[in-house]
Subunit: 153 residues, 2 copies
Amino acid sequence: MKKPCNCPHTHPKQELSSLTTRLRREARKITGPRAAILEILHQHRHPLTNKEIHAELPKGECDLATIYRAMQMLEKLGMVKRFDFGDGVARFELVVEGDDGHHHHLICTQCAQVVEIGECFPAEIEHRIARQNGFRAVTHRLEFFGVCPDCQK
Amino acid sequence: MKKPCNCPHTHPKQELSSLTTRLRREARKITGPRAAILEILHQHRHPLTNKEIHAELPKGECDLATIYRAMQMLEKLGMVKRFDFGDGVARFELVVEGDDGHHHHLICTQCAQVVEIGECFPAEIEHRIARQNGFRAVTHRLEFFGVCPDCQK
DNA sequence: TTTTAATTGCAAATCATTTGCAATTAATTG
DNA sequence: CAATTAATTGCAAATGATTTGCAATTAAAA
Ligand SMILES: [Mn+2]
Ligand SMILES: [Mn+2]
Ligand SMILES: [Zn+2]
Ligand SMILES: [Zn+2]
């Protein structure tokens, strides 16, 4: 079980019901495992790994493979955003309807504490990079790493 | 075999001999596999995966596991930099002596073409992010993704 | 309630990466 | 140059995350 975090960041309130509505809209079944997964994601403000989600679920509630499949689908539907902290494990965060979920994190290299970051790579610079190389639809993946206050002691 | 690339970027000239010197300095043996790996890295300007390096080597020349071990060591010695394009495969690039190799790439999501990028995340913003969250020694991982000129046709 | 396509659990398969171990060898030493 | 030794290698097996085949289950539509 992941310990709760009291950081200022919170997911904009969105009823779980609106989440299931989004699923139904895509002709997807609202199953026990899916509702449970959305529930877990909904009560966490930092990205979770599939294994972490699985650990939060009541034992025997849902197979790990089912979670992997659910996250793939939710990602395709744009309901969750996949993040890569460079440790070879995917992490997911719920995305608010209408948003694309693009944002970044600051991760402690010692204890893996995560901080949600509001800043983004400057658009003007990104546009210049795209133009100079003739690329279209350019975006980026960006994560910060450092030593958190606790781990500095 | 990776097709050669004629992009303007080139590795600052550094004799292979200087590379082996760096190895020797660390009390490491200059073996056939290691020399071959450095040679391969030396003639490429974009990061290579272990499998790609292995494919470039004359068949039977060196085991894949040896390449994995060599890259781990070279990374620890700061002679190569590890990059993560988010596809679950590590890539490595030779690092010039005295440099830390920090830089970024623009990758085509269709054909995987790679462009070396000179820009970096603005230091002032990064410092602010570090300060505001009490983090020390903050750095970042950043890669750009888009559709290259060829793949737009 | 029946029908049916979507979903699930479970086990096996993939893939990148790591590791144990015995055989090999670069580098040092005399 | 030959002996000595710790580092290195090849090979096979182990790991860990993620995916997939398939038969059984089930949500949703009729
Ligand atoms: Mn986040
Ligand atoms: Mn590069
Ligand atoms: Zn951004
Ligand atoms: Zn940078």
